[in-house]
């Protein structure tokens, strides 16, 4: 308190000191305490993936991330929907792989910080998430057997795989390992039945070997995605200056006012909490679905059941930490009707890079998002389930612009170019 008063006196007596630099006086001690909660933190570890920090695994994972060979039409890779040039999203309302999906492609910035993955949280680790798009009929539309054969038959991929994970199973034996196949998915249609039959024809120990191979590839992809970390945003620089009591020009005045609103009367911090601006949990915002009408996507209500039944979850046989924290989160997870229509709070770092916004990309700009929360116009109630703490904010035009300016300040440094494209070889050059 005394220090703030002293700075005010200095500003009053020094004509050269601009008011915009007088930051320690502009934020109360409570505001500074709340701001400190949002400062960037290192990515948490993922004990369920013992390769999560393995550079060779991350290199292989990067190679796979940008590779379209594993899709049924040879045109879809992870980067199709998670394009580094578009904030690791795709600029579309809903994703388009081999087919058209029903939800927006999420950004991968700081993905490793999540507890739950997908809008409905139906996966509980970065690697368990990576498995699903590879086989989903509307995304890459691949199958674990076809992917296993593709890796096995490419000498560089096989070498890269075996140096990290050990010998591959005997995939040359076509009787034991059909060319394509996987278990049935709820999204399948009749055309995928040959895949189910091929999988069902296998011996269980051969299925287990292919599953393990499939999981290893996903763990490599997760090791790469873990590197997509935001650093050095103007907000973080400002927060550091504030903490040190140093005058700061890192945030414009309008962004500073937006920050005050974010942690203050706009209450964004209730859900967009902490270092990644997400509580990692699920809420019903009542955003109207594309095409209008009532809410029809069950969201977390389905996701909670799916993650508990996922064979690739943290308590399961492919996890490297079946008794750890992630496992406990799944084992104690509640499934209740309250969860119907809830979607995961997205993180906000680099949010300005990836319009449109919300679970179906309903809003084309950050301004549209802020206006929605300001008026709640068009918000659907999920019966009695909409979040009770949502009230219209009734922001002024200036306040809308201030919040948008603050959100834009969460965009940090560009990643090095060599992390954003397929490497020349899946084998790192320093081997």
């Amino acid at each position: 308190m005394n220090r703030s008063r002293a700075i005010i006196v200095m500003a009053a007596s020094s004509a050269a000191v601009a008011a915009s630099q007088d930051d320690a006086a502009r934020f109360t001690s409570e505001e500074r305490r709340l701001i400190a909660q949002h400062v960037a933190q290192p990515m948490p570890s993922d004990p369920t993936n013992r390769f999560t920090d393995d550079p060779a695994a991350a290199h292989l994972g990067q190679y796979l991330f940008y590779d379209t060979r594993f899709s049924s039409n040879g045109e879809v890779s992870c980067a199709t929907c998670h394009d580094p040039a578009k904030g690791f999203s795709d600029g579309k309302q809903v994703g388009e792989g081999v087919g058209t999906l029903t939800r927006h492609s999420q950004s991968l910035w700081n993905a490793a910080a999540n507890h739950w993955f997908f809008w409905d949280g139906r996966a509980d680790s970065l690697w368990a998430q990576a498995l699903q798009p590879m086989e989903h009929p509307l995304e890459a539309d691949g199958s674990r057997l076809a992917i296993a054969h593709a890796v096995h038959d490419d000498p560089a991929l096989r070498q890269a795989y075996e140096r990290i994970f050990g010998s591959m199973p005997g995939l040359d034996d076509a009787a034991r390992f059909p060319a394509a196949g996987r278990p049935a998915l709820s999204a399948d249609d009749e055309s995928h039945e040959p895949l189910h039959r091929a999988w069902a024809s296998m011996a269980s120990e051969d299925q287990a070997a292919v599953n393990r191979l499939f999981v290893n590839l996903a763990k490599a992809i997760a090791a790469y995605e873990r590197r997509l970390v935001s650093t050095d945003s103007p907000f973080d620089r400002f927060a550091r200056d504030l903490q040190q009591g140093v005058p700061s020009s890192q945030l414009s005045l309008t962004a500073q006012r937006g920050l005050k609103l974010f942690i203050g009367r706009a209450n964004c911090r209730l859900c967009h909490a902490g270092a990644n601006f997400t509580d990692g949990e699920f809420h019903l915002t009542g955003v109207p679905p594309l095409g209008g009408g009532p809410l029809h996507d069950a969201g977390r209500y389905d996701g909670a059941r799916l993650v508990q039944n996922d064979p690739f979850n943290a308590p399961g046989p492919f996890s490297d930490d079946p008794d750890g924290r992630a496992s406990r989160r799944v084992r104690f997870l509640r499934r209740s009707p309250e969860q119907w229509g809830q979607f995961k709070t997205p993180g906000l770092r680099h949010v300005a890079e990836s319009p449109p916004y919300m679970h179906q990309g309903q809003f084309e700009s950050l301004e549209a998002v802020v206006r929605f929360y300001s008026t709640l116009e068009g918000a659907r109630s999920g019966g009695h389930h909409r979040e009770a703490f949502f009230q219209p904010l009734n922001l002024s035009e200036e306040e809308v612009a201030d919040l948008v300016a603050f959100l834009e300040s969460l965009t940090g440094a560009r990643l090095p170019e060599h992390l954003l494209r397929q490497p020349v070889s899946p084998i790192p050059t320093d081997w």
């Binding site: 509580d279 990692g280 509640r334 009770a388």
Partner: protein, 153 residues
Amino acid sequence: MTRAVRLIGVLGLLAVGACRPDTAAPRSQSAEDPTPTPAPIEGESIETFDGTFEITYRTDPAPIPLSELFDIDVEVRTATDGVPVSDDAELAVDGRMPHHRHGMNTTPRITRNGSGRFRVEGMAFHMSGRWELSFDVTRDGITERALVVVMLE
């Protein structure tokens, strides 16, 4: 973090001559009873609203973290004589944010852990703000509640 804690009126108990057994002394163990008595809980003590039960609890970790699983050790005793309740008493524990009209995203599991002792596993308070942590003791078909306000900031 502040908590609303209702303490037992110890002086009041002494005034009515209540006798509290020394719970720090382990009960004697026979060859037929290999289960060790758990050590008494050092934690917060609160009373149910109608004054029938005294509840002592300690969270693990303490203080309660934001958005991470935590457990609670609980001891329930009859308030008049301080005797731990026996197995005919049930305990239920819940956490809610009344201003948000929602509860937790986890379903905790409660197991007995000795006379009047319970272990609650798998609690999680996933948002900052005002939570109400409730302990419901049911005996002879009657439920009494004790409530603690927990501010996560």
